[in-house]
Symmetry: C2
Subunit: 230 residues, 2 copies
DNA sequence: GGAATGCAGAGAGCGGTGCTCTCTATTCGT
DNA sequence: ACGAATAGAGAGCACCGCTCTCTGCATTCC
């Protein structure tokens, strides 16, 4: 049993090392990851790599899950490091953490939030890790609501069918959160994603030198929209 | 000269036909467009295609420009069809037109706003067409400002270096627009892109059946943030 | 302890890709 | 009518994902 576990352990290490090499390739060559190149880098022949990952998509999936978890962890520790009674401070901490992570890992960010690879369908394993950043945002609002520092907008602003949809989402990942507030935090999450994507993919770079200030101002606008107290 | 123009014309038709076939392939197979497959579809051998497009990236660039122009035209006609004195109506018309176009041409939208192809750098030809949608949004605000229906936010909310950046952008594509208002329309444009991308790339689909209502509500929130009169 | 089993890796090979080079036939300009 | 430019065909290079077979070696079982 211990003898069997040593083989299992070396196998797990192999899986990790392949992922690490693949991540390095991802950073330099972008999303068109080549199994053969990874194998070459490890001194193996490409067919040997199929003992560990049955296909290129499976390796990609492993990288995606890892990246989601890394982003989620970065966001969560940033939130935990902020004053828990200051919703706006937490909001900005989380936004900045997401941006910093994306700037530090552009290829992995593109893997997560870029256009999906044509033949590739993300398996359900990725669903949980993908939810970690928005769940953190929801947590900020829930705490703010409980502390009386955040007030829910008028629910009348939502058309009925939409309110039902949002209620269902709230029941799943944001129990107790008013639908109108959920809609606003979703707006904030969408904006955060859009901001990072534009900065990373677009050509804002040359025309907007003070990107950090721009980012902070835009997230401030969204904090106002959500209703976080100043 | 007319004799030369007939050869030139048949060449132009060839360029267009290749683009059309490529666009069809794009719609079905996604972004991993294959030159050989396109050539096969046209009854040619792949090397012959290189007489028209020197590389796969050049063909992609042609498709990208075409797509930018199609989206820009859709957005512009939607804006022109709305009551010019109603900023909010124009805003919603433009947002819906962009979403409709994206839903009708998902692969082309992904080409424009998805993660960039690793080796590919967008040439400057794409810069002008890419600006058409945000320029339309800016036009709405400028007209609203001139008609006194939109008021500029307090410029104090902008830190100084950011204001200088925004002033430069305004000078280039939005002359006369106050910097703080430019910042808000950029927020709206970012949000619009984020909304469409999430709907197209993400997995909102199964959990949010009433997507059109959700989209309208989110764009309404942004119209409020920008300060468009109800 | 020795045999049976399972697994890691190597190698060859298939069909696909982007792209280059050479060659031929047709068409254009003069 | 003749030289030049052009379109297309074909072969070929290096790469890709993936499959199959075969060989050593470690593990497991009796």
């Amino acid at each position: 049993m211990s003898a069997s576990s040593i083989r299992a352990r070396v196998r797990a290490e192999m899986l990790d090392e392949i992922k690490a090499v693949a991540r390095r390739h991802l950073a330099t060559d972008g999303a068109n990851l080549s199994l053969r190149a990874v194998a070459r880098d490890m001194g193996m022949v490409s067919s040997a790599l199929y003992r560990y990952y049955p296909s290129r998509d499976d390796l990609l999936t492993a990288l995606i899950i890892e990246a989601y978890d890394a982003l989620g962890a970065a966001v969560e520790t940033a939130d935990a490091g902020a004053d828990q009674l200051d919703p706006r401070g937490r909001w900005h901490a989380v936004c900045r953490a997401a941006r910093d992570w994306a700037l530090a890992h552009p290829a992995e960010y593109a893997l997560l939030y870029g256009s999906p690879v044509p033949g590739y369908a993300a398996p359900d394993d990725t669903l949980g890790p993908a939810l970690r950043p928005p769940v953190v945002l929801i947590g900020i609002l829930r705490d703010g609501l409980a502390a009386g520092r955040v007030t829910a907008p008028d629910p009348e602003e939502l058309p009925e069918p939409l309110r039902a949809d949002l209620a269902e989402i709230a029941a799943a990942i944001a129990p107790g959160l008013p639908e109108a507030l959920l809609a606003r935090v979703m707006a904030g999450w969408t904006q955060l994603f859009g901001l990072i994507s534009f900065e990373l993919f677009g050509r804002i770079k040359r025309t907007l030198p003070h990107r950090a200030e721009y980012f902070d101002h835009q997230t401030t606008l969204m904090a106002d929209l959500i209703g976080l107290p100043r």
